[in-house]
């Protein structure tokens, strides 16, 4: 579990929220900042200027979402203004013990 500061669109590269390793991971994302947060799987989903991210998932202030990542899949984020912040909790989505039973 951790809290991540999210840079504003147009200011710098997106923040990496989480990258799954070799297994499926569940990520709970809560927008605790004061501004809209854009989520995407690839940095390239933000356009060249990082200004008009149309290929993204938008998470409003005080909203929470659960996203399941396939192995090696990544979540990156940018905020609409300065001072964006999210809090995340990560856990394994499907345990190997459960799959093998």
């Amino acid at each position: 579990m951790r809290t991540v500061t999210i840079p504003a669109v147009g200011s710098s590269e997106p923040a990496i929220v989480h990258q799954a390793a070799d297994r499926t991971m569940r990520v709970v994302i809560n927008n605790i900042g004061g501004t809209l947060v854009f989520l995407a799987h690839n940095t390239s989903d933000f356009n060249e200027d990082n200004v008009a991210p149309s290929e993204t998932f938008q998470l409003r202030v005080d909203q929470m979402v659960v996203i399941v990542l396939a192995p090696t899949q990544t979540i990156v984020a940018m905020a609409r203004g300065a001072g964006g912040e999210i809090s995340i909790a990560v856990s394994e989505a499907l345990s190997k013990e459960w799959l093998s039973s």
């Binding site: 202030v61 203004g81 300065a82």
Partner: protein
């Protein structure tokens, strides 16, 4: 619910601690002095004589309202347009994008911030209109443009209309240095009066509540009741009318002034007069007092009620009596 009213924290620090709101209190909001220093015309202070430009509010917030401790009822808010300065190119028609914040109209949506500061100075004081257009940074200001404008009112929605035909809103709460009195000749200044023992000048207070998280309910729009009182003395050498109290009543709906004057020397009478200042702007020649009510008292008490005066400042005057000392006291109650 945790809340924040310790100015030692920055907004970012308050957010890291999970606070719901961040409170800002200015006790001399819009008082620039003469010569002007412009220290109290913006949050964060964008320009003062001593510490120079300060960076804008660095954190986006979920909402902004004028808090109950405020005595002013309006402010001007600039925010990030999320475009780089100077973009797009070519520049579009100049449009007034400054948000107006009033007691009755909290900004209940995200106000985006950007990193940066406006490079203003005493000679070039912070300007909400130009700052928004050129920089798009997050500031709260006491005026659209706090600089004194001798020729009239700067910046309206129509930038091309000539000054003479413009009917612009007077978008400021910065106190002027002079007010033309409504009674008799002369001017009145804001501040303490050497002729009066115990003059009260209550400067405007700005109390802002910044929502770090989305507010759960629509906040009430009423301010805390303004209750104040004071004493004054006039010596027998002071004959003319003197200002004994200057109270910020920005937009208060009901105002009651009570006074008691003890005049030494028998039958002499003293007059209590209330006047209000409306339409504050930076140009001294345009600010007038409007006389409200006058009552005459002799060793007694009196009361003046102002029903929805629609004014920014209440001025209370008392007349001196030749050869007779006056000991007076007054109280003001004002409610939204």
């Amino acid at each position: 619910m945790s809340f924040q009213n310790n100015p030692a924290f920055s907004i970012a620090e308050a957010r890291k601690r999970g606070h719901d709101i961040y409170e800002i209190l200015y006790t001399s909001w819009g008082v620039v002095g003469n010569p002007a220093t412009y220290g109290d015309v913006s949050f964060p202070n964008a320009s003062t004589a001593n510490n120079g430009p300060v960076v804008s509010i660095p954190t986006s917030i979920a909402g902004l309202m004028i808090g109950p401790r405020s005595t002013v009822d309006r402010a001007w808010v600039t925010y990030s347009l999320q475009l780089e300065p100077g973009r797009p190119v070519p520049a579009p028609t100049v449009t007034d994008r400054v948000r107006r914040l009033s007691v009755d109209s909290p900004l209940l949506y995200t106000i985006a911030a950007a990193k940066g500061k406006i490079a203003s100075s005493q000679a070039n004081p912070p300007d909400a209109f130009l700052s928004q257009y050129q920089n798009g940074l997050f500031y709260v200001m006491a005026a659209l443009n706090p600089q004194e404008a001798d020729a009239g009112f700067k910046y309206s929605y129509d930038m091309t209309t000539s000054q003479a035909s413009r009917a612009a809103q007077q978008e400021t709460t910065v106190l002027p240095t002079l007010i033309k009195k409504s009674s008799g000749a002369g001017n009145q200044t804001f501040g303490f009066d050497a002729n009066v023992g115990g003059t009260i000048f209550m400067p405007p207070t700005l109390h802002l509540i910044a929502f770090l998280k989305a507010p759960q309910v629509v906040p009430p729009s009423k301010r805390f009741p303004l209750i104040t009182s004071g004493n004054y003395t006039l010596s027998g050498a002071v004959v003319a009318e003197q200002c004994v109290a200057q109270i910020p009543i920005f937009g208060r709906k009901r105002v009651v002034v009570s006074s008691y004057a003890a005049v030494s020397g028998g039958d002499a009478t003293s007059t209590l007069r209330c006047a209000v200042v409306r339409a504050i702007n930076q140009s001294d020649n345009f600010v007038y007092e409007d006389s409200s009510q006058t009552v005459t008292t002799s060793n007694g008490s009196c009361q003046i009620s102002l029903d929805n005066p629609c004014a920014d400042y209440l001025m209370v005057y008392a007349n001196g009596v030749s050869g007779a000392a006056i000991n007076g006291r007054w109280s003001v109650s004002a409610y939204d």
